[in-house]
Symmetry: C2
Subunit: 361 residues, 2 copies
Amino acid sequence: MGIVLLGSTGSIGTNTLELCERHGIEVEALVAGRNVALLNEQIARFHPRYVAVAEGTDPRSVNHPDVRVGQAGIKEILEACDAQLVVNALVGYAGLHPTLKALELGKRVALANKESLVIAGSLIDTSRIFAIDSEHFGLWFLQNATPFRKLFITASGGALRDWKIEAMRTATFEEALKHPNWSMGAKITIDSATMTNKLFELLEARWLFGTTDIDAVIERTSQIHALIEFVDGSTTAHIAGVDMKLPIAYALGIDITRPVLPPIDPLEMGAIRFEAIEEARYPIWQIRRHLLEHPHLGVVVNAANEVAIEAFKEGKCGFFEMSDAVLDAYRRFDNVHPETIDEIVKIDEEVRRYVKLKMKK
Amino acid sequence: MGIVLLGSTGSIGTNTLELCERHGIEVEALVAGRNVALLNEQIARFHPRYVAVAEGTDPRSVNHPDVRVGQAGIKEILEACDAQLVVNALVGYAGLHPTLKALELGKRVALANKESLVIAGSLIDTSRIFAIDSEHFGLWFLQNATPFRKLFITASGGALRDWKIEAMRTATFEEALKHPNWSMGAKITIDSATMTNKLFELLEARWLFGTTDIDAVIERTSQIHALIEFVDGSTTAHIAGVDMKLPIAYALGIDITRPVLPPIDPLEMGAIRFEAIEEARYPIWQIRRHLLEHPHLGVVVNAANEVAIEAFKEGKCGFFEMSDAVLDAYRRFDNVHPETIDEIVKIDEEVRRYVKLKMKK
């Protein structure tokens, strides 16, 4: 199935032709304005059955045996063409009648001529319109699903994100508890400061979504929680207030056609920036790729981390010594591969015993 | 259907109970650690059939006739309860066995205890898990659809967005053509500088998505194209490179399981900020609400705008005089209500005649 392209020499037109070439889509008709030089090139490349130019352009300057002119010419072409899709990239009011004619003929319209809707929206059947406008495409895309390629979750950076690395060495349990955004229990707040919480979330996502193409980035305001990168080149983001009631409401199966949280006002979001998670500040981060590929080692990381947090809480070790203890245990037990819960329970005990002994020294 | 709540006195637990109260969800069992004072309050409010506390907490301090203790107590409660949903907000390794037990009993698990998956993900049936983690909720949400409440599209701000307003008065056609992000035709680029393009897009969205709850905000990098605010309090955003091939590919029905554009790297996006569209800088913006409520006036705005752009191009009027002319015509013709294409064509001609005459003076 070919297309009729109205406005072939503009930016939408040339992009459309690039895609037609890449995907072998036939171009049954080309309609241009005054850029005859480019139109002639396009005719040589796409061999359309019909061509039209704007009123005032000399049809004899066009290298084609059948050149129509102006609005009347476009109408004739639409009637003559078999193509069921019309890409309307004409500018302004001139695009209105071709849109109406195409719909009248039962064709679908890929509409870059937004003026058609601006001028006569009430008379246009939008069910056969697909808008070529990045914003409306965005709105439409957000309500649709395509295969994803990569997942991103965000991290706040935790309580010590703005500390000098040298100062972090002597940070206390109480200092590491001062989370910038979320009010949470002590254990998860310490895990945020060390980035262990985000490491756990990568692993959680690996099990929930069945992929290892997961990464995390810092977003300091915790207003953007996750992003999905799709195969086509689109990325979408989930934005919501810093309040756990939203995921809980879904988990409880509560009617979410009523408000759970107040919405986010984009104008109140402030500056949003995605930043890399530095391994110098968050040493645990160096094992993320290996752990995603060896997810059965999660039990080791968890056991070592729980013992280390307890030692840090009791003032028996420094902030970075928690990560040191986890990384040491991770290397020590990297050959384990539990396949039953009993094996997991045994490894958990063994790792705890090992880390406790190590940390006493 | 009630729930079993493991970890009722923590931040997830208290949020869960707030939702249970709000939505009349029965709480069949409460499991807490050491915060007996809060647990007793919760017992008085929710009247659970079963209660358990952590090992080491005196069950006699709990105001309930049937108090179980520790992991064994949780196991007994899970077996005794009818509730098919277990909210597991226990901390660390202690959450693993309750997750396994609940799944074994055929229940679903709302899982805030991410350690269950970290430790034993390979042994857990995630099809009966709903993650209570804002990031994983975000990932899940992005792949689902709920009713929307409001749509947002973004604007770059156009060629003169950083000019002093006084200087804009004498801006030339060539200066207004220097769009910061998009390479587009002359007409739409001038429409971007005046914000008329965004006004048109609001109207376009009104016809395409059947709502007048649409607004626009400035996003200077043009990487975020649209946002949707959902009824529940979630907002999602569509992010993609500044390249029209993506909407065109969808419009052409091209196989989008292959890449169309390179993906956006969040780390390369720079600072993103949503800013208000000021009416002082973009006078046309003052009619946006009225126009959305009276969308048949689109033909008036379009006709006046096309005449005004032509005059600006020919140096016959200044930058702001374009908006002046459109606003004047909008007020002059605010009583028209075309219902057929013939009436639209007639009004278009009339408005053009009026604006041409006015601008000559």
